[in-house]
Amino acid sequence: MIEIIWAIMIILALVYGILTGNGEALSSAATSSVNSAVTLCISLCGIYALWCGLMKVAEKGGLLKGMCKILHPVIKRLYPSAANDEPAKQAITLNMAANMLGLGNAATPAGQNAMKQLKRISGKEEASDDMVMLLVVNNSSLQIIPTTVIALRAAAGSTSPTDIVLCSILSAAIATTVAIFSARFLARKAKK
């Protein structure tokens, strides 16, 4: 599916751009976009090194084990294949906690680590149900305090920048619920 969507994105952009005389912009975007991918990757290197390093320390120090126990009932339901696998459970726990606290920089390396663990468990070349679930849950971003948005609104001169917090949490909860149910439903449909 991603193969088709990727090709469609590019073909649509090129055909539309050429027809509307944006050829010049297209050529420069082609090179500048991969350049920005490399720049992004370099800045990610530092962030990933930091958070993966700390994650290892947390894992060995036992902080994650405690958090795991609390989240165990949730993990068991959402990711059945990880229920009895300690490393996978710890990575998922950290990913969930970081997402809720809005630590996007810490959530991604933890999520990637969780993906690796889930792939090790499934041992297949395609995404397993639990891997899709992890991605989909991460794509619906349940965050307790949307700090960036609040800061941005305050900077723009809002009289009460935090008044969207409740709506934001409820809306994200709805999005996450839909994410979980649609991942389950589509996984079952695929099996039939």
Binding site: L26, S33, A49, L54, E126, L135, T147
Partner: protein, 175 residues
């Protein structure tokens, strides 16, 4: 606001303090553990680069072609029919593609409609209930070298739709 920003600014330092403190307390070799983890982190960062290049390349072309503005002018009318202010069209379009572009659009909405307008509130809520789907997918699936994503994209898009509709609906209800 000051309490909230106070709390969120010390979350990270406290979290790091807990991790390192607990490691020292349990007599775990924190330094070696950090180095081991950092090595894995660097490998992941480099590992996702090819996927990131492929995805940002396609997104870069889409944005440069001007097609988003083209779609936006048609889509805006359709969005208004279901209660989404037309100022949000570009925001909704770029949201799944690029986090920084979405933030840019958000500040743009704040500047043009005012940060306390209905449009600005809806966009703020959407920012919190939706994600940069394509980027996240490239980074997560890229880390494990998987190209068959199965139902990941349709499920993510459904969740994004739920985020958008519920944001509009909740804002109309609350404000």
């Amino acid at each position: 606001m000051s309490i909230l920003s106070g709390i969120s600014s010390i979350i990270i330092p406290i979290y790091i303090l807990l991790i390192v403190g607990l490691a020292l307390f349990r007599k775990v070799e924190g330094y070696s553990a950090f180095v081991e983890g950092a090595k894995e982190g660097l490998q992941s960062a480099i590992g996702v680069l090819p996927y990131l290049c492929a995805m940002l390349f396609a997104i870069g072309l889409l944005r440069a072609s001007g097609i988003l503005e083209g779609i936006g002018s048609i889509l805006g009318k359709g969005l208004e029919l279901i209660g989404i202010p037309s100022q949000l069209t570009m925001f909704v379009l770029v949201r799944p593609l690029s986090g920084s572009a979405a933030l840019g659009e958000l500040s743009n909405i704040y500047a043009t409609s005012g940060p306390d307008s209905t449009a600005a509130r809806i966009a703020s809520v959407m920012m919190g209930s939706t994600e940069t789907i394509f980027y996240t997918m490239a980074v997560y699936m890229g880390a494990v070298n998987i190209k068959n994503h199965r139902h990941a994209l349709p499920a993510s898009l459904l969740s994004m739709l739920a985020g958008i509709i519920s944001a509009v609906w909740l804002c109309r209800l609350f404000f």
